[in-house]
């Protein structure tokens, strides 16, 4: 949490002034009982109506000053908190942008989203509350005690005993119940899990007629939740009655001591009233303080989570290695892409996901990559735009190690179509222009034609300016795939990667797509990842992967003769022909 507080540094003034004004307000509040004492002891006793009037005006004035101070404090607190929240949000978002795929995989997107939204909101309101109340409440509690001392030392000693007792109860109950509330949350999560499972798995649960069992399982979770809730409830229900007893007990002692002191002439009647008033002020503030501490614990927990994301260092700093620009070392004869004894171990994984991958692709060649599920096809192509760093060997583009390029320069060369077709909210045009900001209408239509996506655009009202809903919900899987292919083509990449990105296309469209890409101007080097032999059998080179290793490389014919794995894949798809 501490490191987050750095983002308050632009609001130093506000962060100091807000509590300060709150304290001012509190001190004026502490004067009020003294004024009442004066009214009783001087005004009423001497029957001085002028004096009473004057004192009442003083009370109104105190109230007004308190109001002004308090409003000022609220403003500074709100300003500091809003500014703080904004800065943290910006920082976190910017930080997440620097993450490489490794960090994204590790943190998980849903976690990152919660950190960005509800966690930061909690921290922001925590900061706001702290600035407003954290000084005020203790100040009133101890201020009351000090005021009591100015009235009478003997009576004040009762405060000295009561305050620690009260704190013990308030914070003791909290110390016991906060961890228990965490347990309640855990049990609630379980109930939530069962509910979600029964929605996503409705078909299977019904197919296996498990409804009654599921209900029993839910009931079990529910009952353990309720019993825990009741348990915590019973404990926290203690807080108010016990503090009530302590305060009233203290008041009884106070009244007794007061009576003795008045009897001996040390105190006046009005002063006893003031002491009682101070005592009741303490209770109100302690309860506020307890609420505040709950908010703070939550905020700190959220803050720590946010901080832990900020602490994740990108393993691939964007402006780090090899800023060398220019193409001095860029030999034109070098192959477009070369893998030299490459190995990849994902962070936290036991073994290598890719090992000893060694091949090269000449400019304009089409490389097919095939293999079973989990054989490392996607991992391999992700190394080309350096989504992950190799852990062994090196990947060269145009003869230069990918690490020597700046990330932006490198990724400018590569157009990649991922397995999961993703479109962003906006228009079709905006989506396509992700690939190339300055693409003209004509260019866009050209790429659409190659990607077999022209009819998709023509079928939508508004053509290129048709609206795309979030996640591209208003497009079918096949339509999305074609548009994402067009998006990658729009940047006229040197290297084009199609990662199983024709899976939602039927065979005929898939074939037309491949033909169009082959005939594209600029003839990029193309990588096609697929499970279908039909998609890659005409590639210049086919790479067969099995369990992260190269099981063979060559043309379709060569592989059929030499590579057992390839033959098996092929035969499994073309059994009887």
């Amino acid at each position: 949490m501490k490191k987050l507080l750095v983002y308050l540094k632009d609001y130093k003034k506000e962060s100091v002034l807000a509590p300060l004004f709150k304290m001012l307000e509190a001190s004026f509040e502490l004067i009020v009982p003294l004024v009442v004492t004066a009214i009783i002891d001087v005004g009423i006793a001497d029957r001085n109506s002028g004096y009473i009037l004057k004192m009442c005006l003083v009370m109104v004035a105190l109230g007004l000053i308190g109001l002004v101070c308090s409003v000022t404090a609220q403003y500074f607190a709100a300003k500091a908190a809003a500014g703080f929240g904004t800065r943290v949000r910006h920082q976190l978002f910017a930080h997440i942008q620097t993450f490489s795929f490794t960090e994204i995989d590790q943190a998980g997107t849903s976690t990152l989203i919660t950190r960005m939204t509800s966690d930061i909101n909690q921290v922001q309101s925590g900061v706001n509350m702290v600035l407003r109340l954290f000084l005020r409440s203790p100040f009133i509690v101890f201020g009351s005690m000090i005021m009591a001392f100015t009235i009478d030392v003997k009576a004040a000693l009762i405060f000295v005993v009561a305050i620690p007792l009260l704190s013990l109860v308030v914070f003791g109950v909290m110390a016991v119940s906060i961890p228990l509330y965490r347990k309640v949350q855990e049990r609630l999560d379980k109930v939530l899990g069962i509910t979600r499972e029964n929605l996503t798995g409705a078909r299977v649960i019904r197919a296996f007629h498990k409804e009654e069992e599921e209900k029993a399982r839910f009931e079990e979770g529910l009952e353990s939740l309720t019993s825990m809730q009741n348990h915590v409830g019973r404990i926290s229900a203690f807080m108010n009655p016990v503090t009530f007893v302590i305060i009233n007990g203290a008041t009884i002692f106070l009244l007794y001591t007061g009576a003795v002191q008045v009897d001996t002439g040390v105190l006046t009647q009005g002063e006893v009233v003031a002491l009682v008033n101070y005592m009741s002020q303490i209770l109100v503030e302690l309860i506020k303080l307890a609420d505040l501490i709950v908010t703070i614990t939550k905020a700190v927990a959220c803050g720590n989570r946010v901080e832990s994301v900020l602490e994740i260092q990108s393993s691939m700093p964007a402006d780090g290695a090899g800023k060398r620009t220019g193409s001095e070392r860029c030999e034109t004869k070098a192959p477009a892409v070369q893998f030299s004894h490459v190995g990849l171990t994902y962070r936290g994984a036991g073994g290598e996901s890719l090992s000893d991958i060694d091949f090269s692709a000449e400019r304009g060649e089409t490389i097919g990559i095939i293999g079973g599920t989990g054989s490392g096809k996607t991992s391999l192509v992700h190394l080309i735009p350096r989504f992950y760093d190799v852990t062994r060997g090196e990947v060269l583009i145009n003869g230069r190690n990918v690490k020597e390029y700046s990330l932006e320069e490198l990724r400018q060369k590569v157009g990649i179509v991922m397995q999961r077709a993703v479109l962003f909210k906006g228009t079709i045009r905006e989506n396509l222009c992700w690939g190339n900001r300055d693409a003209s209408e004509e260019e866009l239509y050209q790429t659409l034609e190659i990607a077999q996506g022209k009819e998709v655009v023509e079928g939508k009202e508004g053509g290129l300016d048709a609206f795309v809903e979030q996640g591209g919900k208003n497009f079918s899987g096949g339509q999305k795939q074609r548009l994402t292919i067009a998006r990658a083509l729009a940047r006229k990449p040197e290297i084009l990667i199609l990662d199983d990105s024709a899976s939602a296309l039927d065979y005929a469209t898939d074939a037309r797509l491949r033909r169009a890409i082959r005939e594209m101007e600029g003839s990029p080097t193309v990588f096609i990842v697929s499970q279908r032999t039909s998609s890659i059998q005409h590639a210049d080179k086919i790479l067969v992967l099995e369990d992260g290793e190269m099981a063979g490389i060559g043309t379709h014919q060569q592989l059929l003769e030499t590579c057992k794995v390839y033959r098996e894949i092929y035969e499994s798809q073309y059994k009887k022909q």
Binding site: A237, P241, V276, Y507
Partner: protein
């Protein structure tokens, strides 16, 4: 008009809530009784304190015997009040937690009998949030609203009565000034409402962007769009800062302003009280008592205004849950329902019509007769409605017209259980429940022996990878299969069916996530399994379905062609086009 309807809704919801509470009437009555006791005790203590002070006048004028008696009284009352308050809290907790447990139980039971149409048509996240977050919100509102509203009102009434009993004039002062505080509070609330709307709208906009961009961070990076995205983000973030500052600041004015009004009340009481005390109409003790009432009196007003919004919010949440609970369940089974026994695999579809949306016709007058042991394959491009047929066969959806018969019985006349027991189903979306591998495998046959289970797993080629898991068959997998790959999950689903071996099979893209070589090996096991069993197979790999007895070719939800492989090729229609395209260059 709209306001009225909203009110009517609210009263209806409130009635339903009360029905849930009715079960805990005793606790409710007890709680109300305890609340009255607590409030009276709370109000009496300042009076007693005032009496004490009146007996502490000046040196020599302190009546100790009276004071002792009063102090003892305060002590006893405090003790009783504390006990009452604790019991009241416990009662309120009990009511709240039991009520929400009842509500959740009912909601869940409803989920189990909702038609799949409803489940498919609603976002699961939203439904979950109704059962979890909404119920929680409702509970908070109920607990807070219940205790605070009731004690608040009691406190206001009680204070009024106590004050009137002591002195009418000062009471008037309090009653006249207090509404100002309410007015100020509601004025601020009204003014800030639109600011809060703006804040939450801006927040929503930002969350949507965050969701979209972080979920697809990999695409953002692939296109080096980080800077552009950050710029869009910052623009929204800037607006959010402004909105948030406004909303926070203006709403935080409520407290200081009402506190100021309270201090006016306090001063007013002090002023009038002091003059009355001067005239000896009022004692100093009574004045102190009034001052402490003046402090207490306005507090419940402020609380109640907060509670009202809280309660409204709670009611809105309750309404959403009740919507779910009152949702129409699937058609209940008729009274004289039969049980399917001795299923051999005769399935007949007669003049079946079905559509998800009334306006969009899908399946019209579809006829199909399947004899025991026959294989029916359903092919077509993605999204053509292949899954629809399966939804109808399993009776996840009911046909609009026509009928589906198994062994000559309309499936609407037999128990869902016996119908579904007759099918073994492997779907494309592999679903596993959180639990051990073993629990998932024996789902269809809980009495299966260890040996049977392992045999099934071996047949599905799942045994070898299960063996390599940390705890073998007892490895716990997380929700939705957790760390397993899509292919592994599918193998488990296949093993699950291979274990219970029902008379009919439904395979919906059952091997889509499995690589072709493993698939080929599984095919042998499938072939053995399908022997003598009627089976329905959905696939996009044409090679796997050529041997089917009947092939249904679908496009855009319609059945275009129907026949065997050779027949369909001969027709030179959509099927032959599909078939030939896979060899195209």
């Amino acid at each position: 008009m709209k306001e009225q309807r909203k009110k009517k809704h609210q009263t209806e919801t409130l009635k339903k809530v009360l029905k849930y509470i009715e079960k805990y009437k005793i606790f409710l009555i007890l709680s109300l009784f305890l609340a009255v006791a607590t409030v009276i005790a709370n109000l009496y203590i300042p009076v007693a304190t005032g009496h004490v002070i009146d007996h502490i006048l000046a040196p020599g004028q302190v009546e100790f015997p009276v004071i002792f008696r009063l102090l003892a009284k305060i002590g006893v009352i405090t003790g009783l009040a504390a006990l009452a308050q604790w019991l009241m809290n416990v009662c309120n907790n009990k009511i709240t937690y039991e009520v929400i447990q009842d509500i959740r139980r009912e909601a869940f039971a409803k989920i189990e009998v909702l038609p799949l149409k409803f489940i498919d048509g609603h976002s699961h996240g939203e439904l979950v949030s109704r059962v979890i977050a909404d119920v929680d919100q409702f509970a908070d509102g109920l607990l807070m609203g219940f205790s605070q509203l009731f004690t608040g009102v009691l406190r206001i009434l009680g204070t009024l009565l106590f004050m009137l009993a002591i002195n009418v004039k000062i009471t008037l002062v309090v009653v006249l000034i207090t509404p100002v505080s309410l007015f100020v509070a509601s004025f601020i609330a009204r003014r800030t409402f639109s600011m809060f709307i703006l804040q939450s709208a801006t927040r929503g906009e930002q969350t949507a962007l965050i969701n979209e961009m972080i979920e697809n961070q990999k695409v953002v990076q692939a296109f080096s769009k980080e800077k552009d995205v950050l710029k869009t983000f910052d623009e929204i973030n800037g607006r959010l800062e402004k909105a948030s500052l406004q909303a926070t600041f203006f709403s935080s004015l409520t407290n200081p302003c009402t506190r100021f009004v309270n201090s006016l009340v306090y001063t007013g009481v002090g002023l009038v009280g002091a003059f009355l005390a001067m005239k000896r109409v009022l004692t100093v003790g009574q004045l102190t008592c009034f001052l402490s009432y003046a402090n207490q009196y306005t507090k419940p007003f402020n609380e109640i205004s907060g509670v009202v919004t809280e309660l409204q919010n709670a009611l809105a949440c309750a309404e959403r849950i009740f919507h779910l609970i009152e949702e129409k369940p699937q058609i209940p089974e008729p009274e004289h329902v039969k049980t399917l026994t001795d299923v051999r695999g005769n399935v007949e579809l007669e003049h079946v019509c079905f559509s998800y949306e009334p306006e969009q016709k899908l399946i019209e007058d579809f006829n199909l007769r399947v004899k025991p042991g026959q294989r029916v394959a359903i092919v077509g491009p993605t999204g053509c409605g292949k899954t629809t047929i399966i939804n109808l066969l399993m009776r996840f959806y009911d046909v609009d017209a026509g009928s589906i018969q198994v062994e000559g019985l309309d499936i609407r006349d037999v128990t869902r259980r016996s119908l579904r027991e007759s099918y073994g189903m492997v779907l494309q979306e592999t679903w596993l429940k959180a639990g051990t591998i073993r629990e998932n495998l024996v789902m269809g046959k809980p009495e299966a022996t260890e040996e049977e289970m392992i045999t099934a797993a071996k047949a599905a080629h799942a045994h070898s990878f299960i063996k390599r898991l940390p705890n073998g068959y007892d490895t716990v997998i997380g929700e939705e299969g957790g760390s397993l790959s899509a292919g592994q999950k599918q193998l488990l689903c296949i093993a699950r069916v291979m274990l219970c071996l029902p008379p009919m099979l439904i395979l919906d893209e059952a091997t889509s996530s499995i690589d072709t070589r493993t698939e080929m090996k599984i095919q042998n096991a499938f072939a053995r399994m399908m022997e003598g069993r009627t089976s329905f197979i959905v696939a996009h790999r044409l090679s796997t379905i050529q041997e089917a007895d009947i092939i249904l070719v679908m496009k855009d939800g319609h059945i275009l062609e129907q026949g065997s492989h050779e027949e369909l090729l001969g027709q030179k229609g959509f099927y032959s086009e599909l078939y030939n395209s896979q060899f195209a260059v």
